[in-house]
Symmetry: C2
Subunit: 344 residues, 2 copies
Amino acid sequence: VSRAGAIGPVAILGAGSWGTALTIHLGRRGTTARLWARDETLAREIRETGENRRYLPGIPLAARAAATGDAAAALRDAELVVVAIPSQFVRATLAPLVPRLEPGVVLVSAIKGIEPERGLRMSELLAELAPGHPIAVLSGPSFAREVALGRPTALVAASARLEVARAAQAALAGPALRVYTNRDVLGVELGGALKNVIAIAAGLSDSLALGENARAALVTRGLAEMARLGVALGASARTFAGLAGLGDLVLTATGTLSRNRALGLAIGQGKSLRDAEAATRTVAEGVRTVSAALRLARGAGVSLPICGAVAAVLFEGVPVADALAALLAREPRPEEEEVDVSRA
Amino acid sequence: VSRAGAIGPVAILGAGSWGTALTIHLGRRGTTARLWARDETLAREIRETGENRRYLPGIPLAARAAATGDAAAALRDAELVVVAIPSQFVRATLAPLVPRLEPGVVLVSAIKGIEPERGLRMSELLAELAPGHPIAVLSGPSFAREVALGRPTALVAASARLEVARAAQAALAGPALRVYTNRDVLGVELGGALKNVIAIAAGLSDSLALGENARAALVTRGLAEMARLGVALGASARTFAGLAGLGDLVLTATGTLSRNRALGLAIGQGKSLRDAEAATRTVAEGVRTVSAALRLARGAGVSLPICGAVAAVLFEGVPVADALAALLAREPRPEEEEVDVSRA
């Protein structure tokens, strides 16, 4: 039953582009999908127009998918709950809904980020908010718009308990959406969060027109940096070579639809962080993640030069050219010592 | 002396875009660089116009760089010889020049490909043609045009003998060109060759407008496939996570200047292989490499589904949509079993 198994209603919490895309996908494959929008007005707009014009204009919801502002209605009898809320709003948004969850229902985190204050990953935050619920993490290279359009996409469903990962796989996989299971939750979540920081760096590099060679080198060293931190914290190096690491990084650092790369570009073109966040109109998770990553790295005794350069630009006003020049000025060592993504 | 060390003349054999770019780079950093073109007319054009209008129009050679059709003049007193000849012409072109090489001069292979007939890597072919010469391999993410323009680029110089890799590093590194050493020659050469096949697959995928999610998944699985073959043949998994693996693959499979991706696009849009090769005007090494890769894989008992799909399209007339659908139809397994790039 790894694809399109018969399954009861799925609730999707969060009507941004990703939650909406998953709702459209589920409706298309015949699952009853209930999209909950915190904003009643948005829920009504989606119901009335049959599409989410704010976040995915032009792509209709399927007949079996519907939007609501009533969380109780969305969650009633749900066999699976997908949480697709930007990381900084998860706590405030989810806490009041927890009493409405069906007992034992699987929560699927479709959130990419790390809580800056305590360095919590999103599955840890969900476990704290909704104790006792099995949790899976959904990640991998996925522009929401393409998933909504039914373009082929491969994702990872991660849980330390394989049967939970399989439940998420069965509930979400479909003809155009392949879902692989993975038991390395830590690696999958770090990959999904950290790639956003490297994507900001790619945007900064592109803003100076450093070229595609430089960006490819940045992606390579960025993945090594991600894996270095992940392995130090206990993740598997292999996860970073997979869809939630390399795959998502490639998409986010080179893709045309990437919010985090767009933010880096805007900052590099002279916009303030505030203006750049306003201009990209959606949440660039990398801004929040970079501080959390550097704190985790200090604790683990790991060096993250690219994350450090991004933080210097975003928070300390260091000019982009100076921050990137400092990265490039490091004396090259034997590559074996630089690239340790495969060290487990 | 890892960058810009004083060094005698460097000869560059092959006046295509890559040989010309390295010549321009070397001249700019103050090295006497002699570019040899097999085609006397091209050599004269470069001398007369001060640029290689065929392959890198608009980028002048520096004062210390010059082109010649006289191999003896190019090779005289050379302290290092860079071979930048398309793989299929190496044997015929290089054999007559070997007697002109200074004794013991280091040869640097800047060639990406595998000889289809015997599965020889280019360093093996050079060793056969010019026995007794130390050989280093230069690879990594590098569009020639960007190197010629002085954009930041990171490369790998590989040799089983570290002092040979260091000699290549010292001769070639410069302010905008970082060169890392690596001792895994096999991994570096397989990475540089195989990524061209995956880039053709990316072009085929793009020709069907499958989207950036699908391409990112293809890149991820492609790197796993490259590493699987490499590790089976004795390379280090780590090399595939580095510049000559992941870095070059990202550039070639997503970059706008990639010949192999352009060839895949042209084939997918209905051109014959012959017409597509003519249209891209330069040599798409992936076409030759795919057969060699599949032969090596059979010998090693390794499965290369993406290479198989590319071969089916290029040589057996299988429609692109069918070949890619077959790839996507494989049942997803746990990701740990799929992505084994880190398995050493």
